[in-house]
Amino acid sequence: MDWAQLFSVALGAILVNNFIVAQFLGICPFMGVSKKVETASGMGLAVIFVMGLASAICWPINQFILVPMGLTFMQTVTYILVIAALVQFIEMFLKKSMPSLYEALGVYLPLITTNCAVLGVVLQNTQNSYDFITSVVYGVTGGIGFLLVIVIFASIRERMEFSDCPKAFEGFPIALMAAGLVALAFLGFSGLKVFG
């Protein structure tokens, strides 16, 4: 196994090609649940979990069912069904065995189904033809990148509550502006190249 390559995939997913600020995936939950640091970190943790698991499950399905049967055009449909089923399953499992975590995640768990970062990571795994381990690493680290940005952004937004801004910009537009500045900060990582 090539550790250097895994490391560069991981670093890329967290900083350089961050899912939110560099690839524009998962903007809806990013803007929706970033009003408080606590809920934002809960959402981030749930996303790490689901992205890792979805990568792990979709890889064998693609490799051993869709490709041999020549059904690769069904990828999008299959993946979204897998993700929806997975989220439902995790929800039932957590409710029974880990009620405390279930309550912490609350409504954010079902919302993950329509998070484009999850479908995006699975589709990218297929497009880049990553092997199993790289796929899982990419999924988990992509989730970590999501957590990092959403927590940073939520803490900025908490401070912004008390600041003055033009009337037309109140609420959503000023939050988008702040997100733009976070994206600008992360742009600084784009020069970062590890092992070529």
Partner: protein, 215 residues
């Protein structure tokens, strides 16, 4: 009258992007050239209209508990059809939109309209709703594309006009590359939504002004 109201809702008062704040990912990600914006807008319009028609036809059959799963299957089916059509007939558009075509499946606009409109209304109204909401989305995409392409690249109509390079308005070296990068997406959308809020919050004058923009 009702059709006109639906049209105005789709374009301004209930615009999917600037008022309902749905479908943000694709709005910011692909609006770098006019070609991308028009292509994405039309794809979403087609998928939204077809999905609305099918869902409103099936609305009495789909059980309430698993409706979201049913919606997603219908939407994913149409997205696959459009994806394959684009790959076959417009490979250049398909290549530049890339991942964002299959990602229309999780575009909140389509699921949102299915849930809040098509599941409760008749076929014709739902089809019109799909067309007008899709148009509203396309208009916003085109506005964003024109602004970002002009400021970030100094051209107009990239991908379509002048053999794909677009018509150069600003000389090279002046445009700010940042407007094409993600930063520009966030800031352009922020300004656009702020402008929309400004006009919508001034009821009488606002209506006149938005109509002028439409003309």
């Amino acid at each position: 009258m009702n059709v006109k109201k639906q049209f105005m809702d789709g374009m301004f008062f209930q615009n999917p992007v600037t008022v309902q704040l749905l479908g943000m990912c694709s709005t910011m990600a692909i609006t770098t050239t006019l070609f991308n914006g028009v292509g994405m807008g039309v794809s979403v319009l087609v998928i939204l209209t077809l999905a609305n028609i099918i869902i409103s036809l099936l609305r009495k059959i789909i059980p309430n508990n698993i409706r979201i799963a049913c919606f997603i299957v219908v939407i994913a089916g149409f997205v696959t059809i459009v994806d394959l059509c684009l790959q076959a007939f417009l490979p250049s558009l398909s290549a530049s939109l890339g991942l964002f075509i299959p990602l229309i499946v999780v575009n909140c606009i389509i699921l949102g309209r299915a849930e809040s409109f098509a599941y409760k209304n008749g076929v014709v109204v739902s089809a019109l709703d799909g067309i007008f909401q899709g148009l509203g989305y396309t208009v916003i995409l085109v506005i964003m594309c024109v602004i970002r392409e002009f400021l970030g690249n100094g051209t107009f109509g990239g991908g379509i006009l002048n053999g794909g390079d677009g018509i150069r308005i600003l000389p090279e070296g002046i445009p700010a590359l940042g407007m094409i990068l993600p930063v520009g997406g966030f800031i352009t959308l922020a300004v656009l939504i702020a402008a929309m809020q400004y006009f919508l919050n001034k009821p009488k004058k606002g209506e006149k002004k938005t109509e002028e923009v439409a003309k």
